[in-house]
Symmetry: C2
Subunit: 278 residues, 2 copies
């Protein structure tokens, strides 16, 4: 699948002056900040959402958002165009569909995205839920492989290294190889970029992959992973109650507090190999 | 100012079963998860936004959102009513205004909130910006006082202790006393709860207070603090480029990476006392 993507430069960091204080002594230095800017996501020229995001991989973010929110089917994407907004202080990404393709969902009313969550204008859990099938039974992962992942993600987070200010989302093979990493000031944007890249490459559903996120797991993160067909989601920090509930309903394995030497399994423990009963 | 608030029970945590793995050994235990649920925010009965939030202090969250998004002036709030949604799996908060009061801003078109950001449906920085005056010159804070704050916030975060999954926002006096703490799965919700509580108590603008957030500082967090008139915002982690830009324009002091022994000042260093040049 060859999808045409027009792409201008995106800068993930911005240089600034900072006063660094150590042991009471102040020194003014140049510093790299994680860049944050609005991105308007358009579908066939019509505005669907605005998200506060880190510039770079805007086409992936736009496609990932439209796919994980259940608005667009991956196979229907024909072309993506990125440009600066007329005001020059934000970006625009416009997704074109193949002739005859239809966008689904009542997004004209409901969909507005932000830097950490795509749920908007919907009042109950049922209303915030994107209709989707459970994930396939998929692969299993070795306990020792799982525990090695956060270190691999962290070492690959180049923009985080410079700014300390970005969420990371990494797509791994079941044997622990990092296949794709995206970073963003918004954690759900990082996941949308991963899913968007995979959609543009014709690789959905990601039935043989594991997603690791650097922070906490919200309902939104789990929902996006379910839509992308990812069977195992792991996080360095805690899940919310709703994240756990959705993971269980969707046949997903959900791991939290993943560190060397230990983790918690909230759903789907049968996909973790090598567990001994205490 | 006495504002009538009707309030049902809200549970900030939810009990669940978890498989805890330590050194390869698995044990099934009960665990407390940070609760996440949709809350619909209504103004005079009309739906304005839905946010994914941790139950509890819903009236404060609703008022804080309406105030920090520039929709409602604090003095115009007459009553707040909290209830469960009809579906029973979310909450609703309805804010009533005094007779003759008008809501400002084009929120009918623009405002939808989420668990970490209230910016929606707006395409440029100018469009996402709430019109507001810069903060007052306000108080100064001692370097040693500043460095002691994260530990005080952390010790007071009771729900975080049980779940590891919540953002905290703390309001401090310039001499380092924690006056108000709110927790939420969404970091901007925690700030909205702090501002909403202060608005309901008739204490805006918070010109003599310091706000500490447990995570990173986004544009949204700084904007909410500016609207509330808070002159000093500090964070345990990094700010984004846009957070720094807005803080500088708004005469705010913005501190990041705040830890014992050091921090960075991104704006308004003149409010930090006791800095020696390196």
């Amino acid at each position: 699948m060859a999808i045409d993507v027009e792409r201008p430069e995106g800068r993930p960091t911005e240089r600034s002056r900072v006063i660094r204080v150590r042991d009471g002594r102040a020194r003014e230095l140049p510093d790299d900040l994680a860049a944050e800017e609005p991105l308007e996501i358009r579908l066939r020229g019509e505005s669907v959402a605005v998200t506060m995001r880190t510039p770079g991989h805007d086409a992936e973010l736009g496609v990932g958002f439209l796919v994980t929110e259940g608005i667009v089917r991956p196979a229907d994407v024909a072309a993506v165009r990125e440009c600066r907004s007329e005001e020059g202080d934000g970006g625009v990404v416009d997704v074109a569909l193949r002739p005859g393709a239809v966008a689904t969902g009542g997004w004209q009313r409901n969909f507005y995205a932000t830097s950490s969550c795509g749920v908007c204008g919907k009042a109950s859990i049922e209303a915030v839920r994107v209709a989707t099938a459970p994930v396939a039974d998929g692969p299993r992962v070795e306990l020792s492989t799982l525990e090695a992942l956060p270190d691999r993600l962290r070492k690959a987070q180049r923009v985080f290294d410079r700014t300390g200010g970005l969420h990371g989302a990494g797509l791994f093979t079941p044997d622990g190889r990092l296949e794709l990493l995206r970073e963003d000031v918004g954690r759900h944007n990082a996941v949308d970029k991963v899913v968007g890249r995979s959609a543009l490459g014709g690789r959905l559903p990601l039935a043989e992959r594991l997603l690791l996120v650097s922070g906490r797991t919200s309902f939104e993160i789990v929902q996006k992973a379910v839509v992308a067909g990812i069977p195992i989601v792991a996080a360095v920090s805690a899940p919310s109650s709703l994240a756990v509930r959705l993971a269980r309903e969707a046949n997903m394995t959900l791991v939290g507090f993943l560190r060397p030497g230990g983790f918690n399994v909230y759903a789907g423990a049968e996909r973790v190999e090598g567990l001994a009963r205490a």
